[in-house]
């Protein structure tokens, strides 16, 4: 089936491709950004949560009277109070083998992870609300915590009684004759990987403000969400607020990286509190809560094996991805999407591997629910695929570039064994480009020379293909449900200026600038004449969320389609006024010009003015609506690709790993703004370096989270971050606006594998090969001394 909103008009790139400085910057650089905590509503109250101190326990009693009696405390709610309005929020993944869970807004009867909200104290200030929380006394009767996902799946106590066998998700596919492929292999390379538990760690924590006016039944909810329209939907679906009187507002947001792409119990609780208490209620998450409860990410155990023929070409893959899911599915993504994506989407990557045995499973555990973080499933999947490729390179005594060239897909369109079609890509070129960027022979010489001096450097390679522009077609290609379209509104005013609203919220990606570049080229107006509003309010348009590297493609498509409607009217009017054929009119540099007729032009300002004030200039049947709202959802899945080569050095005194340099190749089709693309790469790669070398959320044997402050959860700082060399390849998509592709996740998707490979390369003389991230200094030191 085809739909009108999948068609994107063509566009001539002029502003597109330029390093346009971001319009948001002067505001943000002068302290005028308005983030959630900066908003103060008259009479606002402050909420603070009492959170479970037990990993798994029966709640015998919750004593709240002392807290209620504290001066300045307005209300204390427990699970019973919240359940009167809402049983909880349901999470599941719409694939075979998923069992849903319901997450209560406040725990009743049983707590299932440390940090789970048990009660909420609402007070005149955050200080007093915290004092009140200290006075709430919860009596826990301990239950056995379920902490090891692999043993949990074999039986034993249940982490969450909704999942009695701890199986939240289990499924898979066998594609081709796997047994024969492995039996006939010249060599099989296999390993078990563990990718550690991470926090997305946005600099701004979560936060919510709810304000309800009973006279109009109007609810306003400020939340720094990546999915405000979905949050709004939930306000009606779960809480019964009338949809037409709900507004979700998203102020400036200090990073999200997927963590803010969920609906949270706190977001559902605050509107109820605001309504029942008849005062605005604000909750600004603190960093300890953020590390403890704002979803964890990426943790998986993955068993993977490749069969190779005698020419070192991969012929088959077998993979089992096991997610350590936490106690609930966090809607809407669930604990399942991480291992599902790793197993079902990533094992073949850029390689022509015709046979595949794919298994995914997610275990419920008494830990914080797993949520989305940049590169969901792709990061772990790329880690295991690319690191196993380097293991194979060592086994075959080939260079990491050559082993990949033996299997890389060279002809497009290409259909992988899962049936996903890749229309185009620069997969081979990426490998070649990286090889020349690092000057591979020179690197090997330097490595040998340094090794003779007792210094250990290593080179790691990782190449990727990334689903981008999350869309309905993308979901279908992967046997997932879901409809993902966004709308945009483009409005031209009488003086020719343009106001654009998009359905996406923005967390620092510069969408307002890149979308202005698209509109500038579509309408021929200058960037100064364009104002882009992201989804600062759900009053604007519809958006499926800033997720899945979809911003540039989906918003770009919607903006382009809406601009095209305006463009068509301006062209018709100009043709009438200039007495030319519409097909000869172009809009460029602020004017409509007649191609091939020098001097025959009219400014776009004059055209706009004529639309509003001069009916005599209109052609027959002209409709003067200079405002258009259109949707976009690409007809086909879109994939960007690229790779990183990373050089590290190991310190033999302490096992510390230093990243010396990062070489990146990115192909996201037509680049709208190279500064912004490179910013996404650097930021994502450094997050990947953190994942590979520093960041780890740790539970002890009682299920207590040990890493609850930034003193223990270490993220990369400036001294831990390398210089970059970035090259762009441009293989445009044939069916997106201007050929652009999404790329927001690529850095984090592929960097950890490159870092781990580099460490293993530096250790290659020792015989030790590491397969877990983060790599610890202790592991490196042990290996260097073995």
């Amino acid at each position: 089936m085809s739909f009108a909103h999948s068609e994107s008009p063509s566009i001539a790139a002029r502003s597109i491709g330029a390093r346009v400085p971001r319009g948001d910057d002067p505001r943000l650089l002068t302290g005028r950004g308005q983030y959630l905590a900066d908003i103060v509503l008259p009479g606002e109250l402050h909420a603070c949560f009492v959170r479970s101190s037990a990993a798994h326990a029966r709640i015998a009693a919750v004593e709240v009277e002392d807290a209620r009696a504290l001066d300045g405390v307005v209300a204390v709610w427990t699970g019973e109070d919240a359940a009167k309005f809402c049983e909880g929020i349901v999470g599941e993944l719409e694939v075979e083998g998923c069992v849903a869970t319901t997450m209560p807004l406040l725990a009743r009867d049983v707590v299932r992870y440390v940090g789970e909200p048990v009660a909420v104290v609402v007070a005149e200030s955050r200080y007093v609300a915290e004092d009140g929380c200290d006075l709430v006394d919860v009596d826990y009767e301990p239950l056995e915590p379920v902490l090891d996902p692999r043993s949990a799946l074999r039986g034993g106590p249940a982490a969450n009684e909704e999942l009695p066998d701890n199986v939240a998700l289990r499924g898979g596919r066998v594609l081709g004759d796997v047994e024969a492929a492995f039996a006939g292999a010249a060599r099989v390379v296999e390993a078990t990987f563990h990718s550690g538990r991470l926090s997305a760690g946005p600099m701004e924590t979560r936060g919510v403000i709810a304000d309800y006016d009973w006279t109009s039944r109007r609810l306003r909810l400020w939340t720094c969400s990546q999915m405000p329209h979905y949050v709004k939907y939930c306000l009606t679906a779960y809480l019964g607020f009338p949809e037409n009187e709900c507004e979700v507002l998203t102020p400036d947001t200090g990073g999200g990286f997927g963590q803010k792409a969920h609906v949270f119990p706190e977001e559902m609780l605050l509107p109820l509190l605001a309504r029942e208490l008849d005062r605005p209620v604000k909750w600004v998450e603190d960093r300890r809560e953020n590390l403890m409860t704002a979803t964890h990410a990426h943790e998986q155990f993955v068993d993977i094996a490749y069969a190779f023929d005698a020419d070192a070409k991969a012929t088959a893959v077998r993979i089992r991805a096991t997610g350590d899911g936490g106690a609930y599915h966090q809607p809407p993504w669930s604990m399942g999407v991480e291992p599902w994506c790793t197993a079902m989407v990533t094992p073949t990557g850029v390689y022509d591997i015709p046979v595949a045995d794919l298994t995914y499973e997610a275990a419920a555990t008494n830990k914080t629910p797993i949520g989305a973080y940049r590169g969901v499933g792709y990061m772990a999947g790329t880690l295991v695929r690319e690191c196993l490729m380097d293991d194979a390179a060592r086994a075959f005594d080939l260079s990491p570039f050559e082993i990949r060239r033996r299997s890389v897909v060279r002809e497009f369109p290409w259909t992988n064994p899962q049936g996903i079609v890749y229309d185009e890509g620069s997969w081979l070129q990426t490998i070649d480009e990286l090889e020349s960027m690092v000057d591979y022979p020179a690197f090997r010489q330097r490595q040998a020379a340094l090794r003779a001096e007792g210094r250990f450097i290593g080179l790691g390679l990782s190449v990727f293909v990334e689903s981008s522009g999350e869309s309905t077609a993308m979901g279908k290609a992967h046997d997932l449900g879901g409809v993902y379209h966004d709308t945009a509104t483009v409005k031209m005013e009488p003086n020719g200026s343009v106001t654009v609203t998009i359905g996406l919220t923005t967390q620092g990606q510069g969408h307002r600038t890149t979308m202005a570049q698209v509109v500038s080229d579509a309408l021929g107006v200058s960037l100064e004449a364009i104002t882009v509003r992201a989804a600062e309010s759900t009053t604007y348009g519809w958006g499926s969320g800033t997720v899945g590297s979809r911003g540039a493609v989906i918003a770009g498509g919607a903006v382009l389609r809406a601009s095209h409607t305006i463009r068509t009217k301006l062209v018709a009017l100009a043709a009438n006024m200039l007495e030319a054929d519409p097909s000869d009119i172009d809009l460029v540099d602020g004017a409509a010009v007649v191609r091939g007729v020098p001097g025959s032009s009219i400014s776009i300002i004059d055209l706009a003015t004529a639309v509003y004030f001069d009916q005599s200039s209109w052609p027959q049947d002209f409709d003067p609506t200079l405002e258009a709202t259109l949707a976009y959802d690409p007809a086909r899945p879109i994939f960007s690709n690229g790779g990183h080569a990373i050089i590290v050095e190991l310190d033999p005194d302490n096992g510390f790993v230093t990243v010396e340099k990062v070489f990146s190749v990115e192909d996201c089709g037509t680049v709208i703004n190279p500064d912004i693309v490179e910013g996404q790469i650097r930021g994502g790669v450094v997050q990947g370096i953190g994942a590979a070398l520093l960041e780890r959320l740790v539970y002890d044997e009682a299920g207590q989270l040990v890493t609850t402050t930034l003193l223990d959860y270490h993220m990369p700082s400036m001294d831990f971050s390398p210089p970059f060399e970035i090259h762009h390849l441009e293989t445009p998509s044939s069916h997106t606006p201007g050929g652009i592709k999404g790329m927001g996740e690529s850095g984090l998707i592929a960097a950890p594998a490159a870092v781990l490979n580099a460490v293993n390369d530096a250790l290659s003389h020792t015989g030790t090969v590491l397969h877990d991230i983060p790599v610890t200094p202790e592991q490196v030191l042990r290996a260097l001394r073995s």
Partner: protein
């Protein structure tokens, strides 16, 4: 993450500070606050009274007298790091200051506060111990001097009485070689192992060796067997001392490293100290 309620006072003399401390057994001194304020925010500390020393005169300043550096207790790490006097007479002390956290913390954190806090991973207690320094304190009952060896009693534990205020820290630097180093993952991190070694060096031979370790052990501690094993030897002849160090201390384990790991990196740190000593005497 907001502090619990406390009462606050900023007396303008030491005697008044001591009186306030004596009046409330749950009172705490506030110096720079760089360790105390986060503990308050996390509600891991809940003093009922904070006695702020910021108005007490005479608690800052750096003097070099009688072979020692006298550092006013409220002197900031940044002040020490940048002090021309310290850089002149004991550059290793200035360098040690620069290992503490980040500049934004060093501008506020004080040496007296750091010594009194006695964090097991902190630099100043190790330096004080390795130099055989002492602190001058004032309490309700009068003044006294406490040697570093007597001051540190364990993690976050000192022999200070609850009403006592450190007024200055004395570091006897003259005639001593000082080496301070640590293994830290990122700038400003707590050291996984912190070491301060001081000694006299005569014709390549090390004497009067004092070695203090922090970070890797449960509390800041000296390593007497190692000191003895090195006494009278050249840095190149340090194998016995290296072996002693691995054996004599009790190393801690946490999520950042096992006890074995900490032993290993403390050994390599000591080897760095020995190499530095060898370079100083012109023999590698």
């Amino acid at each position: 993450m907001k502090s619990p309620v406390f009462a606050y006072a900023a007396p303008d003399n030491v005697a008044e500070a001591c009186r306030l401390l004596a009046e409330d057994e749950d009172a705490k001194i506030l110096a720079g606050g760089q360790s105390l304020v986060p503990l308050l925010a996390l509600r891991l500390a809940a003093p009922t009274t904070l006695v702020d020393l910021r108005r007490v005169p005479g608690l800052t300043g750096i003097e070099h007298e009688a072979g020692a550096l006298r550092l006013g207790a409220m002197t900031t790490h940044r002040g020490i790091e940048r002090s021309p006097v310290v850089r002149d007479v004991a550059p290793a002390i200035a360098a040690a200051a620069s290992l503490i956290a980040h500049p934004q913390v060093r501008t506020r954190g004080t040496i007296g506060g750091a010594v009194a806090h006695a964090d097991a991973a902190a630099e100043w207690p190790a330096v004080l111990l390795a130099l055989g320094g002492h602190v001058e304190v004032t309490g309700v009952g009068g003044d006294r001097t406490i040697s570093a060896d007597d001051l540190f009693q364990g993690p976050f534990m000192t022999s200070l009485e609850p009403d006592e205020v450190i007024t200055s820290v004395l570091l006897p630097v003259n005639g001593r070689q000082i080496w301070v180093g640590e293994h830290h993952r990122r700038h400003g991190d707590y050291g996984l192992s912190v070491m301060a070694m001081t000694y006299r060096q005569d014709g390549g031979v090390l004497t009067d060796v004092r070695l203090a370790v922090a970070g890797a052990t449960g509390s800041v501690t000296r390593a007497p067997d190692t000191e003895a094993a090195l006494e009278g030897r050249t840095p190149a002849d340090g194998d016995g001392a290296v072996a002693a160090l691995a054996g004599e201390l009790s190393y801690t384990a946490d999520i950042h490293g096992s006890a074995d790991y900490r032993r290993d990196i403390t050994t390599t740190l000591f080897q760095r100290a020995l190499r530095a000593a060898g370079e100083r005497s012109g023999q590698a």
